[in-house]
Symmetry: C2
Subunit: 279 residues, 2 copies
């Protein structure tokens, strides 16, 4: 692969493969969305919010959308009052000290249990991403149609965040006439390190993984660090820009990269269970 | 702790604690540094490069500096031709299939071996950070004083990146008259997920960890996701802006946050070995 000089990168230019940054990268919080309800057209809401902020999408822009707002639009709410836990959920709940109904919902989305320390269930979601409690939001968010008596409510991750990202990308394309990258991110904890950061669980039209093997540095030496995750790199900081406390910031617009979309997506970021050097 | 509204955040304002973002966050690659050599005054070089780019530091700016350039200035080079491996290094090298001299250097920086799959040594560095091969750069970078016959050369992480960050922060303060945050980052692989991202190994004057327990969201609900790592959130994306192939981009300037410096540093991000839910 030809070497890509990044010194003279111009934002919006398309590179041969992967991602490179121009001199400046700008992240802008998208604000002013109404509280998203099940069935809302999230793509249309985002387009309207972008236009309200005078953001006209360009080629090589990226929109990072929080998984929470995607899950709300997709009605991933569950009223725990309606959940009947299975025997397996009851037994697992006793083992880790959690509500059996919550554990039942976790199991709906679980491909494999990774660890079960006291107080947590670390699982691999059916889409491959590993997190505590299958990424289920337990802050008792409830949809507008919830009755006062019901609950507590939980919110599951989008069913397939890659598909959600593809769908949003198509909406943005239809509205702005340009294909941008879309990343759906969630705040996950991680091994070895304290504190959550954003991680990309759905990716469309943007290199989730950038394999730089064979590229050379300024001195012509083959690069040592060879595979990066541009989608996770953007998701991480978007979490900081979107904030934890403010639902009115459900997306972050990113400008200043150049990239060539490829077929990698959120699933591409998940290490195969048997090939994880770190575990 | 009082709730911090982020909707009306003004970049440069100082918050009561932690970090919040204004509407826009701008990351600018710092370019034009000469190839850094052992003994160079990195702080002075960075100040000069910032001024060449007409960047006048403001309160609540952050500078993310790659660990590689810090390690070069601190002469963390080792010529493997001069290394005599210990018996332990020889035995471990045979086990994982690596150069015993490299393994010896890894052990110098190792507090504990985490995993030893074929071809890699996942270790906890003496500063607490877990990575492959103690973060040692094996791309055969060599200092200007290296003779042609010697080598291969490797480059160890800064001895104590928190101290390096403190030092750079003091240099920047002396030159610009303002206290900014400094993060020293390296590209590490991680469990569960493919692709390296930047991680903060040294932090000064910036909240490495932001404990948001007790804060409330827009609807008055107590936040569920409660501890974030702002330093890792910034380090992750700075890796994308700095790039892997271009040593002339050894730092990234970040503007658009407001934060209150605290006593957390790079070490604060490391999970205690016995308290890691994910392992």
């Amino acid at each position: 692969m030809a070497d890509v000089s990044m010194g003279d990168a111009v934002a919006g230019d398309v590179v041969e493969s992967g991602v490179s940054a121009g001199t400046a990268l700008t992240l802008t919080a998208i604000t002013g969305l109404p509280e998203v309800q099940p069935g809302n057209d999230l793509g249309a809401l985002l387009c309207s919010a972008l236009r309200s902020q005078q953001i006209e999408l360009h080629a090589c822009d990226v929109l990072v959308v929080t998984s929470k707002v995607v899950a709300k639009a997709e009605n991933r709410y569950v009223d725990l009052a309606t959940v009947v836990p299975s025997e397996r959920a009851i037994s697992l709940a006793a083992e880790v000290g959690k509500d059996p109904r919550l554990v039942e919902v976790v199991l709906w989305d679980t491909e494999a249990i990774s660890r079960k320390p006291k107080g947590a269930l670390i699982v691999r979601h059916r889409t491959g991403h590993v997190s505590a409690n299958a990424g289920i939001d337990q802050s008792n968010l409830r949809p507008a149609h919830a009755t006062q008596a019901s609950g507590p409510w939980v919110l599951r991750l989008p069913e397939d965040a890659d598909t959600s990202a593809e769908h949003l990308r198509a909406c943005l394309h239809a509205s702005f006439g340009v294909a941008v990258g879309v990343i759906i991110s969630d705040s996950f904890g991680r091994p070895f390190r304290q504190g959550t950061i954003g991680q990309a669980i759905g990716v469309a039209g943007f290199p989730a993984i950038f394999d730089q093997r064979g590229r050379r540095d300024l001195h012509g030496r083959i690069l040592e660090t060879t595979i990066t995750s541009p989608a996770d790199q953007l998701a991480a900081v978007s979490d900081l820009v979107a904030g934890q406390a403010d639902e009115a910031r459900p997306a972050v617009h990113v400008r200043g990269l150049r990239f060539r979309p490829d077929t990698s997506n959120g699933r591409s970021i998940c290490r195969p269970i048997d090939g994880d050097l770190y575990l």
